[in-house]
């Protein structure tokens, strides 16, 4: 047949025309807005329902609370000018005057009362209701004083004063979408498209001073490589922690990018089932701690973005106890302890293990690689580790039921040291709390009960110091590392101060200096 080049020409022409007809992309942001990439979707910006880290951090920019935690997890005044413990069951908060919501209405004690009562209302199904279970009543005493009455003394109650305040009458979950939420914070909600983006607009009449930016765009980009590519292209200005250690290397030589790293509070640990006949032996747990080379994992897999941990509380926390035993990498000591515990290696350096354990983890690439490192390191002392990877929901379901030998998870957003009660008190053994390893120690129980009832910060510090020392010896969980916070941002961003817990509140003080040259 005769071939007609005409056909090819038409085909090429159609393609070229289509490409030419494409509208030029719309500007990816309004002028003066900072674009921040997030890995996961914030589910509820309403502070009464926000539990995931991104919801809490974005909500902190829209709403004010009575207090906020500083870099040492100490409470600092926000809407409250000051507060006092009238007695061990009563707290009185004095509110700042002149604070208004985004719609111009004044924020008063009635709004505080409404917010706390709507959390307590069972029909509203707030996940925060459990933390307020000892709150008996909230009284508005005049427009600027709020009294909280508890049914029993409970020192960690003050931690609940970080709950964001919504205006009286704000509907509960489900009554409407969250696009109309009103707060009193430095930014107001402009648009919330779940799974896509959250847009905040600067609040020019913010009581703490007008923010330096016109607004913020939080873009949900689930894939780590794509977040890095967006930053490289310039369509994202700021990424905090949602960046893989491997990808960070790309930006080390980029003149337009600046990287901040800072000690964080996210605590990674190795959980163990203490009802297991082998793991209930202290020497075995110590041997496992000696056998794991945390520093090698941090250096090679985490690219230095963590520091070896001695316990749950990070060094920046007010109750942190420095002088606790730390078991360094020492495989010979691990072997000696295992021999002593009655688990001799059946064939020396041969293939037969002393015993076998399983380790559960998620399907995330980094988690799997860490699991393989544990497997290899434990095999050097004669422990065979069977790594089992699961989809997150299945993994978490098993852990919450206490169905595991070994697993690793992290604790995020640790503020009050009363978290120890939930993790190590015998009454918190799953399913009643998060004592997943089923640790029982009457002395720890007594200390934790005293810790939550004492109102004296000095006494509490002493109590939790003792708790940390006991746990570092008994090793119901093996501390692994505290993840560092990593911020990748454009070099012309000024004024950002990272918080150990990843709080983004200092974005209110951020400004953009001048446009950057193309990288």
């Amino acid at each position: 047949m005769k071939f007609k080049p005409f056909f090819l020409l038409v085909f090429a022409w159609v393609w070229v025309s289509l490409a030419g007809c494409l509208p030029s992309p719309r500007p990816d942001r309004p002028a003066g807005y900072l674009v921040i990439a997030l890995e996961s979707n914030p589910t509820h910006l309403d502070p009464r329902y926000a539990t995931d880290a991104n919801s809490v951090r974005i909500g902190g920019l829209i709403f004010n609370a009575l207090t906020h935690t500083d870099q040492h997890a100490r409470l600092q005044p926000e809407l409250a000018e000051r507060w006092e413990a009238v007695d061990e069951r009563t707290y009185l908060f004095h509110l700042k005057k002149g604070v208004t919501f985004h719609d111009g209405k004044p924020l008063t004690a009635a709004d505080v009362k409404f917010t706390y009562e709507s959390v307590l209302e069972p029909r509203n199904r707030s996940p925060k209701r459990a933390t307020l279970r000892l709150l008996k009543a909230v009284d508005a005493i005049g427009p600027y004083q709020v009294r909280f009455r508890l049914s029993a003394p409970y020192a960690p109650f003050l931690e609940n004063s970080t709950l964001g305040i919504v205006p009286t009458g704000t509907p509960s979950r489900g009554a409407s979408g969250e696009n109309s939420l009103i707060g009193s914070g430095p930014f107001s909600l402009e648009q919330f498209s779940p799974g896509e983006k959250v847009v905040l607009k600067a609040n020019p009449s913010y009581w703490g001073g007008q923010p330096g930016l016109s607004g913020l765009v939080f873009k949900m980009i689930p894939d780590a490589i794509v977040r890095s590519l967006e930053f490289k292209k310039g369509t994202v200005d700021f990424i905090q922690n949602d960046i893989e250690p491997d990808n960070l290397i790309w930006f080390k030589k980029n003149t337009n990018a600046s990287i901040l790293t800072q000690q964080g509070t996210i605590f990674q640990y190795l959980g163990m089932n203490l009802d297991h006949p082998i793991l209930k032996i202290l020497e075995v747990r110590q041997a496992i701690a000696y056998a794991i080379d945390r520093e090698a994992i941090i250096r090679h897999l985490l690219k230095g973005l963590a520091t070896p941990a001695t316990g749950l509380l990070s060094p920046s926390h007010w109750a942190y106890e420095r002088s606790v035993p730390y078991l360094p990498y020492d495989p010979e000591e691990a072997k000696r302890l295992l021999d002593h515990a009655g688990f001799p290696d059946p064939d020396g350096d041969g293939p037969l293990p002393r015993f076998k354990l399983s380790y559960k983890t998620t399907t995330l690439d980094l988690r799997r690689r860490i699991a393989e490192a544990f497997k290899e390191q434990l095999s050097r002392v004669g422990i065979e580790l069977e790594v089992r990877t699961y989809e997150w929901g299945t993994f978490y379901g098993d852990i919450q039921k206490g169905n595991f030998h070994l697993y690793s998870l992290s604790w995020v957003g640790i503020t009050d040291p009363d978290i120890y009660f939930n993790l190590f008190h015998s009454s918190s053994i799953v399913p009643y709390g998060n004592n997943r390893g089923r640790y029982r120690n009457p002395e720890i129980d007594r200390l934790l009960e005293r810790g939550r009832n004492s109102l004296s910060p000095e006494e509490r510090k002493q109590i939790y110091s003792r708790v940390q020392k006991i746990l570092a010896v008994e090793l119901p969980t093996i501390p692994l590392w505290w993840a560092k916070n990593v911020v990748l941002m454009k070099r012309n961003i000024e004024g950002f101060v990272p918080f150990p817990d990843g709080d983004l509140i200092s974005l209110k003080n951020v400004s953009i200096a001048s446009p950057l040259p193309p990288s």
């Binding site: 494409l22 992309p25 996940p127 896509e196 794509v226 590519l229």
Partner: protein
Amino acid sequence: MKRYFTNRLLLFVPTLMGSLTLVFFLIHFIPGDPVEVMLGETASSVDKEALRQELGLNQPLGIQYIRFFSALLQGDLGRSLYEQGTVAELILSRFPATMELTLAAMGIALFVAFPLGILAAVKKNSLMDRIALLFSLLGLAMPNFWLGPLLMIIFSIELGWLPVSGREGLAHLILPSFTLGMLMASILIRMVRSSLLETIHEDYIQTARAKGLSEWRVWLKHALGNSLLSVITIVGLQFGALLAGSIITETIFAWPGIGRLTIQAIQTRDYPLVQGCVLVISTSYLVVNFLTDILYHLADPRVSYGP
């Protein structure tokens, strides 16, 4: 034929019920607890139990199953346990994005596959044929999670022509739809080529040539028209694959579609939302299969659907 289509429409119901039943039991049998996700780790066991009771999750699975179907018959898909809003609202807000992506991917696949497939058949064993087959081989060999970032690096970072991810305008649609459509295009190129080469040796083609028709007319009207049946079959089947494949593509390109919603719903054990997403995906699949049957008839009126 009318009866055939009525029967097909009636078959929708048991097929949908079957897929929903399967998913209902599968999602309930795998470990994981939506109440843990809803109330968080600090909630007391009393609160968790109270919520389980309120949501009916403590009832026997059979009762929950009956309740789910009776609500469904009343058009109520329920409320999401984790996201805000009803299941219907959530799906309606995400489904257009997925359909946009899937249809664009299909459009690109057809637009690429037909010219290349026809050229490859017409110029069999030529350079053009080899290029088309190589393109097809590459498309089959490259997974979405690799092709997507590769296209981003070339067209967004190096050339700066297109945006990297997100769903803002038409330009944002190009890379994800090409990524998603590439596999379908690759299969179709080979289908179009082989179907044409089979048909071109039929007697009626020789007759058409003997009538003095131009070669292009013979290929495009007589050969292509009659080889469309097998291509339509593949297009219909591949539509389901596109919907399923969109889950990965949506994640890579931060495309706010139903694929990502389904993954989130499964991860958080959001039972009503998983059911809703499965309902929509199954329905789409059935509708496309139904349309494929109609297209069969239009493409070849000889195709019979019974008495």
